[in-house]
Amino acid sequence: MIKKLGKKLPTIVMIGPTFFWLILFVLIPLCYVIGISFLTKNAYGGVDGILSLQSYKDLFQSEYLKIFTGSLWLSLQTTILCLIIGYPFAYLIAKAPANRKKYMVLMIMLPFWINSIIRIYGWNTLLRTEGVINHLLIALGIISKPLEMLYTDGAVLLGMVYDLLPFTILPLYTSIEKIDTSLLEAARDLGATKRSTFMKIILPLTMPGIFAGSIQTFIPSLGLFYISEMMGGGKTMYIGNLIKNQFLSARNWPLGAALSIILIIITLILMKLYTRVGSLEDMA
C-alpha cells in the first residue's frame, strides 16, 4: 500500500496543486452558478432557496433572444473582419525571414502586456467627440463639426476587432508556416498562377488555422462586456452586458446564471468542434 503510494507520489505532487486550483476556482463556482440558475430571485439581490425553472423560461422572452442574436451577429462580424485583416498579416509573418519573424510575432504579442481595458480606453480618447482624431480633422480643415465616432455600433466592432485580432493571427500564422514551400513550388511548376496557387493550395491547407482562429476569436468575443460599454456606451445590449446587469443592477441572479450557462454551453459546443477539426488535421 505504502509502496503503491510512493509510486504515485510524484504524480500527486505534480498535478495536485493544479487539481485543487481547478476544483476551488472552476468546478465549485461553476456548480454554484448552475445551482443559482435553478433557484428563485430574491427581491434584494441574492436568491431564495425555492427550486424553479423560471429563469430558463425567461430566456425565451423576445428581448433576450434579440440580445442573443445581436451578440452572435456582432461576434460573427468580429470574427470575419479579424480573418480578413489577420490573414495577410499572418501570411507576411510566416513568409518573413527567420530572424525578422520572431520580432513580428513579438509585436503581435506585445499588446497582451497591457491590460485590455486600458487599451480600449486608449481608443476612447482617440475616437470621442473631443478626441484626438476629431481635433486633428478639424485642424486640417477636413471637417467642421466633430464626427460622432464613439458610442456607435461601429466603434464597438472596431474595439472587438482590435482586441481579438492577435487571437486570429497566431493560429493562422502557425498553419501558414506549416505549409511545405515545395507544395507552392509544385503548383507553380504545374502552371498555376499565384492567385490559383492561393485558392487551390494555400487556402485549403490553412483551413484548420482559419477554423482555429475563428473559434479563438468568436468564443471570447461573445463574453466581452466592457468593450460594448466603453466603446458603445452601453447603448446596444450584448450577452456580456446582460449577464453583468442581471448580477449587478437588475438583481436577478438566477437569470444571470442561466444566461451564463447558455453561454458556456455554446462555448463548449464550439470547443468540441474545434478539437474535432484539430484531430482530423492530425490524421491527414
Binding site: 503548383a187 507553380r188 504545374l190 498555376a192 491527414a284
Partner: protein, 379 residues
C-alpha cells in the same frame, strides 16, 4: 544516346548563382540534348539542386543565361516554362486525391474535362496505379507517391522533366526497381530528363551522360563509361566508384613513357602530355590494382597484406604501403588470396592507371627513393 541528332534542349551559358557573397554555382556551361537522360551528380552543396532549380525557374540566375530550345527563359516564371519537376519529397498536394493531383496541371491549363479524364487514365496506367484514383497521398506508400509525382509532371507533356533526388527516400530494393522503371519510361517517351542525385551508382545506371559537379564547378561531363574509366579530375576519380589515388612525381619523360616516383616506390607507365618534375595523381580502381608475391616489371611499389574482407561477389584485400597508405584491391572469388602479412608487389596493367595533372605543380621531394626506370626496379 536516345537520339543521335544533337539538338540542344537546354543551354546554360556562364551561369553563376550567388547567395549573398556565397557563390554556389560558378560559370556553368552545359548543353543538354533533346531526349537525353542527363544526371547532375555531386556531393551535397555542390550546386546541382540549385542548377536544377534555376532551370525550373524557382531560383533566379545571378549571372549568365539559360536557354530552353534556344529561347532565353530569364523573364519566364516557373508556370510559364515548358518544364516540370519531380520533387525530392514528392510535394503531392495532401488535400487532393491521386486523380486531382495528377490532373492539376491540365486543370490549370483549362483543358476540357473529358480530355483530362482520358489523360489521367493514361498516366495512371503508365505508372501502374490504376484503381487508386481516389486515394489521398497520406494513404500511399513512398513508391506509390513517387509514381503519382512522376505522373503529375509527365501529364503536362513537358519538354524537359527535372527530377530532384526523386528516389532518395525509398529503400534500396524499391530504389533499384524505380531506377529501372524511370530509365525505361524516359526511353519510351523520349523526353529529356535532368536528374539530380548524389548517388553515383544511380547516376551510372541510368544516365546517357553524367555531369559531375563539385563546389559549384562542373568537373566533368560525359557518358558513364567515360566518367568511370577516364575521370578528368581527382575529384571525379574519387567520387565515382572506389579509387586508389597516389600522389607521384615525374622523374623522367621518354617517348611515350614516364618514370614516376611515389612515396612508397616507383613505376614506369605509358603516358603523354606530362613533363619532368611535375606532380601527378595516379588513380587506379580496386579491380585494376593487382598484387603479386613475385617482382613485377616496371613497378617497384611494395606493401603488406593487411586484411581480407569478403563482400559478396568479390574479395576485397587491404594492402598497406610502406608510407602507411592503405589500398583497396578487389579480386574475383576464384583468385587465390595471398596470406595476411605477406610482402607483395603492386602493379596495374597498361592503361588501367589514370594519370592526372595536379592543380598546383610543385617539386616533390622524394628523390632518395628513386630507382632507375629502365631496369624496372626489380631487385
Amino acid at each position: 544516346m536516345a537520339k543521335m541528332q544533337d539538338k540542344v534542349m537546354i543551354r546554360l551559358r556562364d551561369v553563376d548563382k550567388c547567395y549573398g557573397t556565397n557563390k554556389v554555382v560558378k560559370s556553368l556551361n552545359l548543353d543538354i540534348r533533346e531526349g537525353e537522360f542527363l544526371t547532375l551528380l555531386g556531393p551535397s552543396g555542390c550546386g546541382k539542386t540549385t542548377t536544377l532549380r534555376m532551370i525550373a525557374g524557382f531560383e533566379e540566375v545571378t549571372e549568365g543565361q539559360i536557354f530552353l530550345e534556344g529561347e532565353n527563359v530569364e523573364d519566364k516564371k516557373p508556370n510559364q516554362r515548358d518544364v516540370n519537376t519531380v520533387f525530392q519529397n514528392y510535394a503531392l498536394f495532401p488535400h487532393m486525391n491521386v486523380e486531382d493531383n495528377i490532373a492539376f496541371g491540365l486543370v490549370e491549363k483549362k483543358v476540357k474535362k473529358p480530355e483530362i479524364k482520358r489523360r489521367v487514365g493514361e498516366m495512371l496506367k503508365m505508372v501502374q496505379l490504376e484503381g487508386m484514383e481516389k486515394r489521398l497521398p497520406a494513404q500511399m506508400s513512398g513508391g506509390q507517391k513517387q509514381r503519382v509525382a512522376i505522373a503529375r509532371a509527365l501529364i503536362n507533356r513537358p519538354k524537359v522533366l527535372l527530377l530532384d533526388e526523386p528516389l532518395g527516400a525509398l529503400d534500396l530494393k524499391l530504389r533499384k526497381q524505380m531506377q529501372f522503371e524511370l530509365k525505361h519510361l524516359q526511353k519510351k517517351l523520349g523526353i529529356t530528363f535532368i536528374y539530380v542525385t548524389h548517388d553515383q551508382e544511380e547516376a551510372l545506371t541510368m544516365s546517357d551522360r553524367i555531369a559531375v559537379m563539385n563546389q559549384g564547378i562542373l568537373e566533368q561531363i560525359g557518358a558513364p563509361e567515360e566518367i568511370y574509366n577516364r575521370p578528368a579530375t581527382k575529384f571525379v576519380a574519387d567520387f565515382i566508384g572506389e579509387t586508389n589515388i597516389f600522389e607521384a612525381y615525374v622523374e623522367e619523360v621518354m617517348d611515350g613513357r614516364i618514370g614516376i616516383s611515389l612515396e612508397a616506390g616507383t613505376a614506369a607507365v605509358k603516358a603523354a602530355g606530362f613533363h619532368k618534375e611535375e606532380m601527378v595523381y595516379i588513380c587506379v580502381r580496386p579491380e585494376n590494382l593487382k598484387i603479386s608475391a613475385e617482382p613485377v616489371i616496371d613497378f617497384n611499389i611494395r606493401g603488406k597484406v593487411k586484411e581480407h574482407v569478403f563482400i559478396g561477389s568479390v574479395n576485397k584485400t587491404i594492402v598497406e604501403l610502406v608510407n602507411g597508405q592503405e589500398l583497396k584491391i578487389t579480386t574475383q572469388p576464384d583468385v587465390e588470396l595471398l596470406s595476411m602479412g605477406s610482402e607483395v608487389n603492386l602493379f596495374w596493367n597498361e592503361g588501367k592507371g589514370i594519370l592526372l595533372h595536379t592543380k598546383e605543380e610543385q617539386i616533390y621531394n622524394l628523390i632518395e627513393n628513386t630507382v632507375k626506370i629502365e631496369g624496372g626496379g626489380d631487385d
